[in-house]
């Protein structure tokens, strides 16, 4: 099964909802924009590690609840050398879509 555009859009909304939760605890100057291009890791503007973990866990909670599944995103990123952390929001969405459609690694 591959991720449809509709499914990808739904995942994006879950990530944005998680960003809303994350922004409640970030200082005004460090809040995360709701855009697929928003940088998460690896270069200038990357999230501080606790903020990144919070985003991953909040996203995972939402996706697991919505799809009645367990994608184990946080564990995957911690355990697997083959799964680099997503560099931006779009890559995070792709990673989740791949996990949900069974094409994910790890």
């Amino acid at each position: 099964m591959t991720a449809t555009n509709a499914m990808r859009d739904k995942i994006l909304q879950h990530v944005y909802s998680a960003i809303d939760e994350l922004n409640q605890q970030l200082p005004a100057g460090e809040r995360v924009a709701k855009s697929e291009a928003t940088v998460l890791t690896g270069s200038d503007g990357a999230l501080e590690s606790l903020a990144f973990l919070n985003l991953i866990v909040a996203t995972e909670d939402r996706v697991n609840a919505a799809y009645d599944t367990t994608i184990n995103l946080a564990s995957l990123l911690m355990e697997s050398d083959d799964t680099p952390p997503p560099g931006n929001v779009g890559e995070l969405v792709d990673l989740i879509a791949a996990r949900l459609s069974g094409a994910g690694r790890g």
């Binding site: 605890q25 973990l53 919070n54 866990v57 946080a74």
Partner: protein, 567 residues
């Protein structure tokens, strides 16, 4: 101008990064600037006042720990090692001593009780009974924590178990714990922040103290004007009727602890009051209400009038009404009034009431508990005043007694409450915590007195503060504070009399009053203008201490000893 945020230091054995962010960003008043001390070093930090986290000194500390983080015996118990209850409690005592010492350096220390993750079953069936049981040990440790810290000035215990229960199954987050040492989810932190904010408001004297209630479908089920009181849903063998009884009992408990109740309802007054008097299952009776507006007028206007009659500010009012249209109207017209959303299900009324944090108090004084009786007595005084011809007749009949005493540890809590809550009769509107007020009054040349007022209708309790600061032959009135409940009963003159008498005895030549205007203290200016003090320019008044300021007539004064000149 925005107020300076409260600087709150988070001291913990776990990562409080998320809590710090949520607390600092929370938009509910008061604003808090949260900072975190290095985590996992709780005891070291508590006993080291020179650590950089204490500089500058925070206004408050939240010392939130997991039991295994600070009590080594409990950590060993989790591994089923033998730990005697005595050894466990000795560790709790040691930790409490560290917290108590911290309270000497920081104005407020908040200590959440210890909680265990709900999934932790310990020894199962015998967990509460066995010496190595975790739940039993935790109960004993929390009881000891409460016993040790109860009454420690500046230390406030918070019930963390409720935060966990309200957050439900997601209270603990194993992934955040293992990856970032954050044990709790944001929903737990949200509960903690709400309680902490309520605590800050309570300590600042900003708790709500007047609860106004609608009647039909709020205090009882049904429309009394249509049904008659006999057919209202209230009590009886009926789940809705029992829900209203439970709600009224909860309201009565609020009243007993000092929240004033009032009624604002669209009804025929005689019909509604008759229902309150006659219905056998009414838990609240006429004398439980300080006042009411029961008519067909606009509820917002009725609220404003009743609040003025009770000499309170709109910022101290909560309004409960089942009707969302009325709630919207009051919210729009009187934004200072707190109008909580109210459940449509009547069986949830008592629960909704108990979830309101706006009535939280830092301490409960005798004056708080007797507040409604004081308003009922006020009603009787007003009735008497209307039946008499002259003011002097009224004073004679009232038999007012004013007792003036110095500041003591026994009256400090109430005095600080008055200092921080009183707006209308308040010369300088300075705000100080109880300890700061105590320290100020003990400085050389500074004196502070409290006033208690009673009359034939009842005891109004401690309702006034007057203080002077003496230097270079001048005594300056520093605080001149009086509860609006006793305005115009010649207590103001008694306050000037005691201040002037002491200033004279201390060898001062003049008594000065400098009025600092605020949006609410015009009654103070009005009194100064008629007080007999000489105007010395804008907002400055003086009394030549070459002569006595006269004691008020027809009022019995019980004065403190006047010092010997020059002492």
């Amino acid at each position: 101008m925005a107020k300076t945020p409260i600087r709150c230091l988070l001291v913990s054995d776990f990562n409080v990064g998320n809590l710090r962010g949520l607390l600092s960003n929370d938009t509910q008043s008061p604003a808090v600037a949260a900072e975190s001390a290095p985590f996992g070093q709780v005891s070291d930090l508590l006993v080291d006042p020179s650590h950089e986290c204490w500089n500058p000194a925070p206004d408050a500390v939240l010392a939130w720990t997991q039991p295994q983080g600070v009590i080594r015996g409990y950590a060993r118990l989790l591994e089923f090692e033998a730990v005697s209850p005595e050894a466990l409690l000795a560790e709790v005592d040691q930790y409490c001593a560290q917290l108590a010492a911290l309270a000497g350096r920081v104005r407020s220390v908040f200590v959440p009780t210890w909680v265990a993750p709900p999934h932790q079953r310990g020894l199962g069936l015998i967990d509460l009974a066995h010496e190595r049981g975790q739940a039993g040990a935790l109960l004993r440790m929390n009881a000891r924590l409460v016993d040790n810290l109860r009454g420690t000035k500046g230390v406030f215990l918070l019930d963390a178990q409720r935060w966990i229960a309200n957050a439900g199954k997601s209270a603990y987050n194993a992934r955040l714990w293992h990856m970032a040492k954050v044990p709790f989810s944001n929903s737990v932190f949200a509960e903690a922040i709400a309680d902490l904010k309520a605590a800050f408001s309570a300590l600042a004297g900003q708790s709500r103290k007047l609860l106004l209630l609608d009647l039909d479908d709020t205090l009882w089920g049904g429309i009394v004007g249509d049904l008659g009181w006999e057919k209202l849903k209230l009590g009886g063998h009926d789940p809705i009727g029992e829900s209203f009884v439970e709600f009224q009992r909860a309201l009565k408990a609020l009243k007993q602890r000092g929240i004033v109740l009032g009624l604002v309802s669209k009804n025929e007054e005689s019909v509604a009051l008759n229902a309150i008097r006659s219905h056998p299952d009414m838990q609240l009776r006429i004398d439980d209400f300080a006042g009411w507006r029961i008519n067909w007028e606009d509820k917002a206007r009725n609220i404003a009038e009743l609040v003025e009659e009770l000499n309170l500010g709109l910022q101290s009012v909560v309004f409960i009404d089942d009707n969302p249209v009325e709630r919207d109207r009051v919210r729009a017209a009187l934004p200072e009034v707190l109008v909580p959303d109210w459940p449509g299900d009547k069986m949830l009324y008592a629960q909704a009431l108990s979830q309101l944090r706006c009535f939280d108090l830092a301490a409960i004084s005798q004056e708080d508990q007797a507040r409604t009786q004081m308003y009922v007595a006020d009603r009787a005084r007003r009735d008497l005043a209307q039946s008499l011809e002259s003011v002097d007749d009224w004073f004679k009949k009232l038999e007012i007694r004013i007792s003036i005493e110095s500041l003591t540890q026994a009256n400090l809590t109430r005095a600080a409450q008055l200092l921080n809550k009183t707006n209308q009769m308040n010369l300088a509107t300075r705000r100080l915590a109880a300890e700061q007020l105590w320290d100020w009054a003990k400085e050389p040349g500074q004196r502070l007195w409290t006033l208690r007022v009673a009359d034939k209708f009842g005891d109004s309790g401690l309702v006034g503060i007057v203080s002077i600061a003496c230097a270079d032959g001048r005594a300056e009135l520093r605080d001149f504070i009086l509860s609006c409940r006793v305005f115009g009963r010649r207590v103001e003159e008694a306050m000037l009399h005691v201040a002037a008498s002491h200033a004279r005895a201390l060898g001062m030549r003049t008594l000065e009053a400098h009025y600092a205007p605020t949006a609410k203290n015009k009654p103070t200016l009005a009194f100064l203008e008629r007080s007999g003090l000489e105007s010395m320019g804008e907002h400055a008044y003086a009394w030549d201490l070459g002569r006595e300021y006269p004691a008020p007539q027809l009022v019995a004064l019980e004065l403190p000893q006047v010092p010997v000149a020059g002492s």
